[in-house]
């Protein structure tokens, strides 16, 4: 009986998980293309623009992404042998790119032309209280300073 439940959970996890991931990656790639021209840098010195005043504003984007049952199961098997755990790699990749995109989109709304000192931070939100080290979901926060042009400096 328990095996049947496990198999059903694995099947639904696999089916919906793959579906959700494919859809998400499609949307990420589409939006990344749309924001290709928008630079996000980790430099800290503002650009030397003297003709205009510069406005600085903090922008941030976050995303919480959960892993599906199938991937979690496969990953826990892989942990026995060690090596690359691609299941978690794609999860983190998705979350980071999504968070960065949300930050970019917010910066674009503010008419910024660059995001400086971008930082990405990851925190794991553990769901299961019984197994403390299990990764249920991860949160990624991306933040930086959006720089936009202000009014022209008169000389």
């Amino acid at each position: 009986m328990e095996i049947i439940v496990l198999l059903i959970l694995l099947a639904t996890g696999y089916f919906f998980g793959q579906l959700a991931e494919k859809k998400h990656f499609k949307s990420i790639i589409k939006r990344e293309k749309a924001h290709l021209h928008f630079p996000v840098v980790t430099m800290r010195t503002p650009p030397a623009i003297t003709q205009h005043e510069l406005n600085a504003e903090l922008v941030a984007g976050n995303a919480v992404i959960s892993i599906d049952f199938f991937k979690k199961f496969v990953a826990s098997l892989k942990m026995l042998f060690g090596g690359r755990v691609t299941q978690y790699e794609s999860l983190l990749d998705r979350a980071r790119r999504e968070a960065l995109l949300r930050m970019k989109e917010q910066a674009a709304l503010k008419n910024a032309f660059v995001v400086m000192n971008a930082r990405v931070e990851t925190a794991s939100i553990s769901k299961n209280s019984k197994r403390r080290n299990s990764v249920g979901a991860i949160e990624v926060l991306a933040y930086g300073t959006a720089i936009s042009l202000g009014k022209k400096i008169q000389r």
């Binding site: 996890g13 503002p46 941030a60």
Partner: protein, 105 residues
């Protein structure tokens, strides 16, 4: 209030330092939302409720930091940093800190 995580405010001169300002908030998860999130753990995908909850809480931490800076008489906070840590099972602390300064406007 000007917020930036650069070390200076572009194009403006820092005239006075006030030191570290900080704000924090600790949030626990909602039981109903937690149940839904548990289901999502089977299907995978984004947990929209959590994304919102954390963004909101982070904003609250930022607001507290801003309040502290205002009470000191600052008009900008530079070098803002965020950090997240889990203090207890099911609760997370969101922390924002930075340096309060006064700039020439």
């Amino acid at each position: 209030m000007l917020l930036t995580n650069l070390e200076q405010v572009p194009g403006k001169k820092i005239v006075q330092h006030f030191g570290l300002v900080q704000g924090n908030t600790i949030r626990a998860k909602h039981v109903g939302k937690d149940f839904l999130a548990g289901l999502k753990n089977i299907f995978g995908g984004e947990l929209g409720a959590y994304t919102e909850l954390l963004a909101e809480s982070r904003q609250e931490a930022t607001d507290r930091m801003i309040q502290q800076a205002i009470s000191m008489g600052a008009n900008a906070i530079v070098n803002v940093r965020y950090s997240t840590s889990s203090v207890a099972q099911g609760a997370a602390e969101l922390y924002a800190y930075g340096t309060a300064v006064k700039v020439d406007l």
